[in-house]
Amino acid sequence: MSITGVTATLSSADARSAHRNDQPARVVNDFSIQVATVNGSGSQTANNVLMRAIFQMGVPVSGKNLFPSNIAGLPTWFTIRASAAGYIGRKKETDFLVAMNPETGVEDVEKLDAGAAVVYDEPLNLSRVRSDVTFYSVPFDKLTVPVCPEARLRKLVRNMVYDGVVAHLLGIDLEEMRKALYKQFGPRKVKAAELNWNAVQAGKRWAEENLTKQDPYWIERLGTSGRQLIIDGNSALALGCVFAGVTVLTWYPITPSSSLAEALINYLARFREDPETGKATFAVVQAEDELAAVGMAIGAGWAGARAMTATSGPGISLMAEFVGLAYYADIPVVIVDVQRAGPSTGLPTRTAQGDTLKNVVLSHGDTRHPVLFPSSPEECFTFAGLAFDLAERYQTPVFINTDLDLGMNNWVTDPFPYPEEPIRRGKVLTAEDLERLGGFARYRDVDGDGVGWRTLPGTPHPAAAYFTRGSGHNDKAQYSEREDDYVNNLDRLARKLEALRGDVPPPEIQLAPGAAIGFVCYGTSRYAAEESRDQLAREYGVAASYLRLKAYPFTSELERFLEAHERVYVIDQNRDAQLLGLMRLDLPVPLLGRLRSVRHYTGLPVDARSVTNQIVQQEGL
């Protein structure tokens, strides 16, 4: 991560202290905007337009939607972070607030640090709350009426007015905002786009004539967005599945994974119909529950399809029995877990890494499953292909653990690389192979990697069939309750995991010369970890190395990283330090004393300041 650009301007914290001394300094491309609205008011479009306009000005930007489990009426917050330095994790502090929600307005203002700025809806009268922040009162209703004659649309259109006001106050290029708006509405909704564009302009005009800039925050062009694009992780993963050749998707709706299945269905309909016949090269079933969803995927995987399901924590719980069967019966299946916080009625619209431990050991008896940890849209795309290859190569369930933060938020990314490698379907014997070999033993470990050769149902040969069962079986797939057969089977399955170590993506490592401490992170924690590392260096002069895991099982790099550092901080977005727990299970005992834990489990994405604070405290800095 580059931190060039930060030195060119003051950070927002510096600016706030400057503000207190009545010497407002410009804070350029390094602050966060929070928009507080009511769920169902259509603010998502306005927020995406705002984010996209900043993106088009070449400024690194991220957007995070904090929304309730509700169709309409409850409060929602959208946070946009601009960071010339490229920090795109959540920022703990809000610098610039757009307060549209009467219910949360006072509390939202009270939470701000001194020196922040607030645009608010005039009737909320928020300027009475405190005197150490900058207020801009805007009569949104009065501005909306003239541009939107149709009363029922005003609730939606008034959000676009704040885009115009904010564009003026922050110096966002209005032409970029226009482009962003028309992009957002698409070619089929030009009329709606025009209506909303008028609202943006009304906000902009009114702000020009009535507001005097008093806060220090500015967006300045850094270039253009070039070939970059904006996508959410769920759509990225769905695209990855399309290009990985998925043939069967069976799923059950659950937040935050539903949009993954829906994106996949849309992409499949567009890109995977047979060009000659118009027929589908895929099958999708919305199942009756998660039990059936994974059961169908396992049946399809057994019969040779590239099969998958997508779910979240509670769905995984329901799938536990079936996953055990697939493990013991050597059946490939890909399970995407877009993790969320807590139980069925917990915080379904908040993020967590709560299924790290569970997915590795899911089900009955001795089980260990490979789990991939994508951290970005590009990894969502590439790991999808990898997951199918691993599932078929190793004939076993493979999990992809993403989370709500990655899956449902919009991210800026480079375009995804077209998969150049051929699809790998694993060890499958054809009728010709059987003719040559005369037969086969389904679970015999002929290659020493724990993976036997399989045949697909429908293979036209009398020697093709075998009988699949979870219960005890010998290497010819015959029913057996013999002790040695059971032990041999379990040991063979353990060899699979050993072989997998050489095939899962190795961690990303950045060593700081002479560093006594290191970070271990995975998935979306990387953004807070990368930024916290820079905070420690900048603010405390402490160098820290960095290792980001991309998969379980662990590879040898992790052990060497622990050997090279006195204390290693493992960042988990869960209460019980689940990744650290796994490391305790798998790593040599002499290294375990080096492990320290950093945990974040508020339901919001982990932020750098929280990580830094926990490390500072434990290091006694």
Binding site: A280, A287, M296, G299, H461, T468, G470
Partner: protein
């Protein structure tokens, strides 16, 4: 009426002997109704000349679910998890819709733990044959009632069932199965005709077979015992099956026979007994089952056939080749497709 039945042959139309359709030795109790059903399945697939390697056989958990190991040893088999063979079989059919699929389940498997999966398989009309080996008790866990036990039925230890049974055939007709039959494991001729007809049906065939458990539910007071069934079986019609590859003409008295032509061209001849029963009439089927709920008689035969409804794989509009083995160029879109998807997001 006389059907010129072909004499038993050593090989079927594929040139295979019946041994090619047998499986491992049964480990169920002597006299178990399930073993008789296994025998009928072997005969049915052999006589119909289905290539064993084109068949998949799946099951859940329970005594009945062990039986796929005892027939069609040259077919891929899958003994899956309790109650959920319907889901696994649905997935397998999606992967390869050219396969002939048979699921063997039990009454606990289907009507209790797997009821949700069963109902949704019915809604989808998944093209497979679903045989319920129904004995009213859990055998492997030693004789607890299942959800198909009749009111007033008595367990060996004296406990009497007070809960109304789930009628899987009624559910099947109501929820969308397109071939529904009930039979008795001891009724060799009827069961054989039903199974062969179901093989020629392109849709979901649900066959509920009363199959007495000699160990836990064959005593006096049971309504699923051999003696009870012999006294209370009420066949709807006398069944004759004529496979599509045989041309057999029959003489029959006007008005005494109905003929159902299966999707594969096979013909099922229903000779009238006490009543004129039209198995293509859904309301008629439902009414007949309700009528017999209170009499204690068990109505058997072809209850319902619907040849018009699309099967699940037809409604999905799948390519003709199995999805499982489509080559890479048919499942990975070209480079331009990815570039198009990327451009839309810029």
């Amino acid at each position: 009426m006389s059907a010129a039945a072909a004499p038993p042959r050593k090989t079927n139309r594929l040139g295979l002997e019946v041994i090619s359709y047998k499986g491992g030795k049964t480990t169920l109790c002597a006299g178990c109704g399930h073993n008789a059903i296994t025998e009928r399945l072997i005969e049915a697939f052999w006589e119909m000349g289905v290539a064993p390697w084109k068949v998949i056989k799946l099951s859940g958990i329970g005594c009945s679910s062990k039986t796929p190991a005892y027939f069609l040893g040259l077919s891929h088999g899958f003994n899956s998890v309790h109650g959920r063979a319907a889901a696994v079989a649905t997935g397998a059919i999606l992967a390869n819709h050219q396969l002939q699929c048979i699921v063997v389940s039990g009454d606990g498997d289907t009507a209790s733990i797997g009821l949700g999966n069963f109902m949704h398989m019915l809604r989808r009309n998944v093209p497979l044959v679903y045989v319920i080996e129904n004995n009213g008790v859990y055998g492997l866990t030693k004789g607890q009632f299942s959800a198909t036990a009749d009111v007033g039925s008595r367990q060996k230890n004296g406990i009497v069932n007070e809960m109304p049974p789930i009628d899987c055939c009624l559910a099947a007709i109501e929820m969308g199965a397109t071939f529904v039959a009930r039979s008795f494991s001891g009724d060799k001729k009827q069961l054989s005709a039903i199974l062969k007809a179901s093989i020629g049906h392109h849709g979901l065939a649900v066959i509920d077979v009363i199959s007495p458990c000699t160990t836990f539910n064959d005593h006096e007071g049971s309504t699923k015992s051999y003696s009870y069934m012999r006294e209370h079986e009420e066949p709807l019609h006398d069944l004759h099956f004529v496979p599509f590859f045989e041309d057999i003409s029959v003489d029959y008295e006007e008005g005494t026979l109905r003929e159902v032509v299966m999707h594969d061209g096979s013909r099922l001849r229903l000779r009238k007994l006490d009543r004129d029963y039209d198995p293509t009439d859904r309301m008629h089927a439902v009414a007949a089952l309700h009528e017999f709920e209170t009499t204690g008689e068990v109505l058997t035969g072809i209850l319902y056939v619907d040849k018009t409804r699309e099967s699940f794989t037809q409604s999905l509009g799948l390519v003709d080749a199995p999805l499982a083995t489509l080559p890479q160029d048919r499942v990975r879109p070209p480079r331009e497709a990815l570039e198009q998807a990327m451009e839309e997001l810029r």
